[in-house]
């Protein structure tokens, strides 16, 4: 699923960055990479999302958020 399809507060793992290569690279430099764990903390207007990654909050516009694939993190026990 994509970020905009993810429920608020759910724990997620980034599984795909389908952005143009240069944009995906910058996202990686900022700390959002494949395998990164994140939570959606806020739904904003026009599909925008705020996600929490390693203590930081990132704002992503709707189009960008829709190009980030995530999966829910399964926790044992």
């Amino acid at each position: 699923m994509t970020l905009p399809e993810s429920p608020l507060g759910a724990e997620l793992r980034v599984t795909g960055l389908r952005l143009p290569a240069a944009d995906a690279f910058r996202l990686s430099e900022m700390g959002i990479r494949l395998g990164t764990l994140a939570h959606v903390t806020q739904h904003a207007a026009f599909g925008g999302r705020v996600i929490a990654v390693a203590g930081s909050r990132f704002a992503l516009d709707g189009e960008t958020a829709a190009l980030i694939d995530v999966e829910p993190v399964e926790r044992m026990g």
């Binding site: 910058r26 990686s28 903390t41 904003a44 930081s56 992503l60």
Partner: protein, 723 residues
């Protein structure tokens, strides 16, 4: 290696070391860090008032530089002085904007200088955000790879220690700094720039001086074997469309740095853990250099359930899909009110003070010196003093704008504003923050131009700065009211509304045209923005920042305003007939009016090619408020203070506009209003454009606006007169 040491432990003493690097007379210090890490606050704390703002050579990127002087740690008792530059905030040295390019170039230049001359010409202070160590460490790794000597300043410790989900929460700042220093192998100084006395400034100075004498390497990062200016080439290739293989190579290298960052973060965690005091724990050090095989990221605990912070709770309201936009508009409305209604009485009071008691005082002094009632008095009182008074009357509005922006920026809301308004500005390829100055421009263009500094990229600042003069400031309203009332008394409200609508269309149309021509490189890229935590602005830091920015306006824009006022006075004071002496000339017999008469034929296709209109437009270049007064002066009638007087001026206007337009006075009046809207901002706004973007850009913008306004006015008149 032991993890638990002092943050200053890696700093050797100032003497008795075998490998001293030659030092320059004044050490150059570059301040580097990501956006919103407290870099500029630290810069202000280090330099105080000993700083100045200039544009980086050949660019419109603003750079603050200053002198950083300390005496406290000098054993000889003399002051140690350093030249410090506050480089634009950057996430990476692989630049993606002209601002980031300036940062990358400055660091690579320092590295090249050291590599080629062996002279330690400078030190880089890398500012690390304690709340986002991983992101900051990536930039630090890139800086370290260039081979420059560096010191780390650790900021945001107060926020890190209280953040519910920070990996460094509840960690003593000194302990964290010591752990980082030991892991990195370079000095790490915890700083609180808001506390200049005990915020670590002296310790930072000591660390910088020590590293300048004894260069150190960051553990695990290999300096360049042979010098190559890879920063610029990589960035340039990116900006001009890098090939896939370039990008793949950059990404592959970045992966090694990501691995280093993750490994280092784990090492720091280990250092902070009590059990690490054992010899086993201290044996986990980094390998000697990269690139090379690193152990994979150490297994760390998953984040687990989300721990909501105070900022998360506030954002539930401020970024809400329904409430976010109204809140943003309310903030912009407040800014608009502050820069117009709130500042207006202060501006009026200053104007009265300058034109009343101050002018009287100067006149009295001149008469005592035997210089009263001649051209010297006119030059000093009506030229110089009026110019200085104009600058002074703008001080409240600039101070209010800088204070409000500083408050929004320091509080953390400005980044949210960019997010909320992103969709609105996307069609122009601009950051959401551009909406704020564009709306403020409808109050006054001058503070709106000042507000462009909140935009993160120079090209976006420039594009926004070129569009702001097309926003119809409140001073232009006085012209609309006069002409709409005189020519369309039954539909004056509709005409004025149409002028504001025209202004919005001009901004949108101008933006789209510029994006397809001179600003093809400005694109609406994906919005990927780090939201800083909300915090209470620090009043003393804010006041200092406002003082410095207002001072820069006075020095750099103020002198242009004063010189322009002097030129206008000379034009008004010099007679073109022999019946008058210099300084005692009716407007109609002045050189000023003569120049206006020369311009009038150029305006014939617009329908308002008469001397009165061209003289008023020349005056409007100084300030739009005085266009009405200029009309009154040139028709030798009183300025309209009452409907009866306005009716008299209106009659005169109708007569001359009908005459110059062949009986199509209404169309000519509409064309005149469109011309006033589009032809040029006032001299103060032009001076601010020059201060922000340089002479060439300001002059080009002025020329383009004059030409565009003429074309629009001709169109309006030619179409309007045929309806």
């Amino acid at each position: 290696m032991s993890c638990h040491g002092s943050a200053s432990a890696p700093v050797p003493g100032r003497s008795g070391h075998a490998s001293l690097a030659p030092l320059p007379a004044i050490l150059r210090v570059l301040l580097v860090g990501g956006p919103n890490v407290g870099k500029s606050t630290l810069f202000n704390a280090l330099t105080g008032a000993r700083q100045r703002t200039t544009n980086a050579p050949g660019t419109t990127v603003e750079l603050a530089s200053g002198r950083w002087r300390t005496t406290a740690h000098s054993t000889a008792g003399f002051a140690v002085e350093r030249a410090i530059v506050d480089l634009p905030g950057s996430y990476s040295l692989l630049a993606r904007s002209s601002d980031e390019q300036i940062t990358a170039d400055a660091i690579w230049e320092l590295a090249r200088s050291f590599s080629e001359t062996g002279l330690q010409s400078g030190v880089v202070i890398v500012v690390l955000d304690a709340t986002a160590l991983a992101r900051s460490l990536y930039l630090l790794a890139q800086v370290a790879e260039t081979g420059v000597s560096l010191v780390v300043a650790l900021t945001m410790l107060d926020l890190a220690s209280t953040a519910a989900d920070s990996s460094t929460s509840a960690v003593d700042p000194d302990t964290l700094a010591a752990a980082l220093a030991t892991s990195l192998g370079v000095p790490v100084v915890p700083v609180d720039a808001r506390n200049r006395a005990a915020g670590g400034m002296s310790e930072l100075a000591r660390a910088v001086d020590a590293v300048a004498e004894h260069p150190r390497r960051v553990t695990g990062i290999a300096p360049p074997g042979s010098f190559s200016y890879c920063g610029t080439t990589a960035a340039a290739s990116r900006q001009h469309g890098a090939s896939g293989s370039d990008l793949a190579a950059e990404l592959a290298h970045a992966e090694t740095l990501f691995a280093w960052v993750e490994h280092l973060a784990e090492l720091v965690k280990t250092c902070l853990a009590p059990e690490d005091r054992s010899p086993a724990g201290s044996s986990r050090s980094l390998p000697g250099s990269l690139p090379g095989p690193l152990p994979g990221p150490l297994p760390g605990p998953l984040p687990g359930p989300l721990r909501r912070t105070f900022s998360d709770r506030v954002d539930v309201v401020l970024l809400n899909p329904w409430a976010g936009i109204p809140v943003f508009l309310a903030v912009v409305w407040l800014l608009f009110e502050l820069t117009t209604r709130f500042a207006a009485p202060l501006q009026g009071a200053i104007g009265q003070l300058v034109n009343g008691p101050m002018a009287a005082g100067v006149t009295w002094l001149l008469s005592l010196m035997g210089l009263g009632d001649n051209w010297v008095q006119g030059l000093l009182v009506d030229g110089l003093l009026v110019g200085v008074g104009t600058v002074l009357t703008f001080l409240p509005v600039m101070a209010v704008m800088f204070t409000a922006l500083g408050f929004l920026e320091d509080s953390g809301y400005l980044a949210r504003a960019a997010f909320v308004a992103d969709r609105a500005m996307r069609s122009l390829g601009l950051d959401g923050r551009a909406l704020l100055p564009l709306i403020v421009g409808f109050g006054c263009n001058l503070p709106a131009l000042a507000a462009t500094r909140t935009l993160p990229h120079a090209r976006q600042r420039l594009l926004t700065g070129l569009l702001i003069p097309l926003t119809s400031c409140s001073a232009r309203l006085t012209v609309y009211v006069l002409l709409a009332g005189a020519f369309f008394p039954q539909h004056a409200g509709t005409v004025i509304f149409a002028m504001y609508l025209t202004s919005v269309l001009l901004v949108l149309g101008g933006g789209l045209v510029l994006r397809r021509t001179a600003f093809r490189d400005v694109r609406a890229g994906p919005l990927m923005l780090v939201l800083p935590p909300y915090q209470r602005p620090h009043l003393r830091t804010l006041a200092m920042s406002v003082r410095l920015r207002v001072g820069s306006f006075v020095v750099r824009a103020g002198k242009i305003i004063v010189v322009t006022m002097l030129v206008v006075w000379v034009l008004m004071a010099v007679p073109v007939t022999g019946q008058h002496s210099v300084g005692h000339v009716p407007v109609a017999d002045s050189l000023y009016y003569s120049v206006a008469s020369g311009i009038a034929p150029l305006l014939t296709p617009t329908g308002f090619g008469n001397d009165h209109a061209s003289a008023a437009l020349m005056t409007g270049f100084v300030a739009k408020e005085v266009v009405v007064g200029s009309f009154a002066q040139s028709y030798a009638v009183a300025e309209p203070g009452s409907p009866a007087r306005a009716a008299g001026l209106g009659e005169q206007l109708r007569r001359s506009f009908d005459e110059s337009s062949g009986g199509r006075g209404g169309a000519a009046a509409l064309a005149f209003m469109v011309f006033v809207l589009a032809y040029t901002p006032c001299v103060a706004a032009l001076a601010e454009q020059r201060r922000l973007f340089g002479w060439r850009t300001a002059a080009s913008a002025l020329t383009a606006q004059l030409a565009g306004a003429w074309v629009l006015a001709v169109l309006v008149f030619q179409v309007g007169s045929r309806l």
